[in-house]
């Protein structure tokens, strides 16, 4: 208990500090603490449900709609966050979640539009296609690392741009572009069939879809794998001390590859959730740096699958609520600023270690 609190302290402290910092920033820039309070409250209602309206006799939609938005955003953050976190656990820094997400999204869009099948089968097929595409795209850096000693940070950065350029500047605007019928403003791939869409969980009231269930399931499976299974134990040992793991008979190179495959598959699934749940086709550009958000979630979540889930739920919520801050003259990307600052603060590891050693003195130490 004490140990998990100690592990979570940097993250919690960083989130609170950055929230406070951003609150002050809004108060200063928008002229007043009361404006800042209003803006932050609006963000909260937008994130976790409009409770004041609900108690004023509103329908349950005022709760469900924001929660649906939050969950949709959280699902994506969780999957990319887990992608980065699982690579972290074997000691690899997968900066390439963005590229893997892009190819996964494209795979989902293509499979979703190309065939028509009974819904559960079609969704499963799309998810499989995305996971495979993402996994294969992550295989390259893993092989380069193992056989050529190329650092994965460099190779995944390169592959991000290769994916972006090839998909968004060629495939989506060229060979895979939807056949335009009269209205030529449509960019991106063809609309996916309805059978490929992720099932809605709350009907038409909210955009809440099964993506969040997938994300939660992935987090739990990964957590069990890392904590209860010998294979997960090996991954953690390799990540912490690769030479000792190797000397203990573990196959480090093979674990690099299998963990990177899982990492890429998770990022690919993130792409699938984006397409099958929200976009319904690969748009002209997916725009946001989802893969980089994954790095933030992995680190703020301290590399722990449940920590990643928790921080994704929080920041997914803040992002959904962030839209409402525009009423107060704050750009809707404000939660991303909070998230970035929290990541920056989490990064100051030594500071937090000193602080947590003071607040929660470590046991033992002969």
């Amino acid at each position: 208990m004490l140990e998990s609190l100690r592990a979570a302290l940097p993250s919690i402290g960083s989130i609170l500090t950055s929230l406070l910092g951003c609150f002050v920033a809004v108060a200063v820039l928008r002229g007043g603490v009361d404006v800042a309070i209003d803006a932050f409250l609006a963000m909260c209602w937008g994130a976790f449900g409009d409770f004041p309206k609900f108690f004023d006799g509103g329908a349950s939609a005022v709760l469900l709609r924001p929660l649906g938005e939050s969950a949709t955003k959280a699902a994506l953050l969780t999957l990319t966050g887990l992608s980065v976190a699982v690579a972290f656990r074997v000691g690899l820094f997968n900066i390439g979640a963005q590229g893997q997400l892009i190819v996964g999204a494209l795979a989902a869009a293509v499979v979703g539009a190309a065939v028509e099948l009974p819904s559960p089968l079609h969704v499963t097929l799309c998810l499989l296609a995305s996971a495979t595409a993402g996994a294969l795209y992550a295989l390259g850096p893993a092989l380069l690392k193992r056989y050529r000693g190329v650092h994965e940070v460099i190779s995944t950065i390169m592959l991000n741009w290769v994916a972006l350029m090839l998909v968004e500047n060629w495939l989506v605007t060229g060979p895979l572009r939807a056949v335009t019928t009269g209205d030529n403003s449509i960019a991106g791939t063809a609309q996916i069939h309805e059978s490929a869409e992720l099932p809605r969980l709350a009907g038409e009231v909210s955009r809440l879809n099964a993506g969040i269930l997938l994300a939660i399931a992935a987090a739990i499976v990964l957590w069990l794998w890392l904590s209860r299974f010998v294979g997960g134990f090996e991954w953690r040992a390799i990540g912490a001390t690769p030479a000792a793991a190797q000397a203990s008979g573990m196959n480090v190179g093979r674990s690099f590859i299998s963990a990177m495959l899982v990492s890429g598959a998770l990022a690919g699934l993130g792409g699938a959730v984006l397409i099958l749940g929200t976009e319904q086709r690969y748009p002209a550009t997916i725009g946001a740096p989802y893969g980089f958000d994954g790095i933030a979630m992995a680190l703020i979540g301290n590399g722990h699958p449940l920590g990643v889930l928790a921080s994704s739920l929080l920041f997914g919520g803040l992002r959904a609520g962030g839209t409402r801050m525009q009423l107060f003259g704050v750009h809707k990307s404000f939660p991303e600023l909070i998230q970035g600052l929290a990541l920056l603060l989490v990064a100051a590891r030594l500071v937090w270690m000193k602080l947590s050693n003071r607040l929660l003195p470590p046991k033992g130490g002969a």
Binding site: V230, T241, A245, A247, G249, A366
Partner: protein, 525 residues
């Protein structure tokens, strides 16, 4: 010491050299003094490294700091050199307290240090390494030709045989050691600290080093020698300070001391491990025939059950690679490898399965995961098998049980299987590693520097475990850079030089000088 080889210094530079030398002499006068370390204390986390230590250094003295590993010798000198900040106490020159917070402060006070682990940049030349931090300039640019000639001059003046233009990573270990000393002398230091300078040198290279240093000290250089090799200390030093567990326990004169009396001061009331009884070798466990792997060339040797084979050699002559071959970390290029009845290259996993245990040199890198619990560490290597696993799942109860037993039988403290391993002291970590490796009932134990950096009690514990294992019929390959340790424990010794076997000795034939010659590759053994 040979004269420096053709330095080819131009006459113009020669006169400049003379200027530099006279400047050094003047500077030396300024440093004519007594340096006193007063009541120094230093802790690392919860570990006390230095406890109220005082030491005075007179000009021109050769002071030896002796003590077992971890006694605080290096820590004390790192404080003097500004690398460690003391928690309490101060440094004074001629009675006036001074502040030494960085190596730069130490260097301006004329204090230089040669570290046990070299601080050389391999990709730079000798001259660049030597002048680093005080580079000669010309119109603000780095004047490499002048750096070369200055370093040449320093080499010649002090009788070092080095090519200033050579890239450091092309030099032998002995030459790199010389570069380290030239670095300090080039700065015109009046006090030179040598931290275990002979650890990686052959006896012959060590003799050469001491001859040069003695000459320098006769010219007024104060020398501090950190060592735990008593014989070299007794012949070299003018005064000996003995440290034990972070305290200075005695100061003696070499003329009034013997290796035995010093050892007693160093280890306190400890009884030294008994001389190993005659081994009763059994069946062959390891056979190498004309084996080549990496730097190893045509190595043939064998190890039998119930004996300890010591591998001696200067650092970097293939000992490490030999251990890697035996533990499956390195594959065989040519020749025959037969371990426990199995022929051919091993992988770490196969090696474990056929009964090879491994105590690696760098525990933190190769043997344990400090962020894991003690229990998780105990399972490393056998984590796929009972009692640590149940199919693909971890058997938490079985692991806890086995860990408790092991901590009990090997006296690992504190007895908390759930504690993070990093919270244990180094000695307890090593006892755990030894216990874990022997717990698997191996046929062969490959131990590389198994007692390096441990406290005395732990050294004894580890050594007696090795001897116990041998007595029960286990085969041990002991690789150590510490010749004394090899000679104390081994039944036979094989010396490696440049990847080849340069000598083999039975216990009855052990002769330090002869083994030293083999270590140096002088083949008249």
């Amino acid at each position: 010491m040979k004269e420096a080889i053709a330095c080819g210094v131009a006459p113009a530079v020669k006169s400049k050299t003379r200027e530099i030398d006279s400047a050094r002499v003047r500077a030396g006068d300024r440093f004519d003094m007594t340096i006193a370390l007063r009541h120094i204390s230093k802790r690392f986390g919860t570990q006390v490294a230095l406890d109220d230590v005082s030491l005075e250094l007179e000009r021109g003295e050769r002071v030896a700091l002796v003590g077992e590993n971890g006694a605080g010798k290096s820590s004390l000198m790192n404080v003097l050199y500004g690398l460690y900040a003391a928690d309490a106490g101060d440094v004074a020159i001629d009675g006036a307290p001074i502040r030494i917070r960085t190596p730069a402060d130490a260097l301006t006070r004329g204090i230089g240090m040669v570290h046990q682990h070299f601080t050389l940049v391999g990709t730079l030349s000798v001259a660049e390494n030597v002048v680093l931090g005080k580079e000669p300039t010309r119109f603000g640019t780095f004047d490499l030709p002048r750096a070369v000639s200055e370093v040449q001059a320093t080499c010649r003046r002090f009788g070092f045989d080095l090519d200033p233009r050579a890239r450091v990573d092309t030099l032998t270990v002995g030459s790199q050691q010389k570069v380290e000393i030239v670095k300090a002398l080039h700065r015109g230091v009046s006090t030179l600290i040598l931290d275990e300078p002979t650890a990686v040198l052959t006896p012959q290279e060590a003799d050469e080093l001491f001859a040069v240093t003695r000459k320098l000290s006769d010219e007024g250089l104060t020398v501090v020698l950190i060592s735990h090799k008593l014989r070299e200390v007794l012949t070299f030093a003018t005064r000996i300070a003995v440290m034990r567990r972070g305290k200075k326990v005695a100061e003696v004169k070499p003329s009034e001391s013997t290796p035995e009396s010093l050892a007693e001061l160093m280890v306190g009331t400890r009884t030294p491990p008994p001389a190993p009884p005659q081994a009763m070798p059994g069946e062959l466990v390891v056979t190498l025939e004309q084996l080549s792997a990496g730097p190893l060339r045509d190595v043939s040797l064998d190890v039998r059950a119930g004996e300890i084979l010591g591998i001696a050699g200067v650092d970097g002559n293939g000992q490490r690679e030999l251990a890697e071959v035996l533990t499956g970390l390195r594959s065989v290029d040519a020749g025959v490898l037969r371990v426990a009845g199995r022929t051919g290259s091993l992988t770490p996993r196969i090696a474990r399965e056929i009964g090879v245990a491994h105590i690696p040199e760098d525990r933190l890198k190769h043997a344990v995961v400090t962020d894991f619990t003690v229990g998780e560490n105990v399972s490393l290597g056998r984590h796929r098998h009972a009692p640590f696993a149940n199919g693909a799942r971890i058997d938490f109860a079985g692991r806890l049980d086995r860990t408790r037993t092991l901590m009990e039988s090997h006296d690992v403290r504190p007895r908390e299987p759930q504690l993070r391993l990093g919270a244990l002291s180094g000695g307890n970590q090593q006892k755990l590693v030894v216990g874990r490796e022997l717990d698997a009932n191996p046929k062969l134990l490959v131990a590389v520097q198994p007692t390096r950096g441990l406290d005395l009690a732990a050294v004894d514990a580890v050594r007696s475990r090795l001897l116990d294992f041998r007595a029960k019929g286990g085969a041990v390959v002991l690789v150590s850079l510490d010749l004394e340790e090899v000679l104390a424990l081994a039944d036979r010794v094989v010396v490696l030089y440049e990847g080849k076997v340069s000598g083999a000795f039975m216990r009855a034939q052990f002769d330090e000088r002869l083994i030293g010659k083999c270590m140096l590759g002088v083949r008249d053994a």
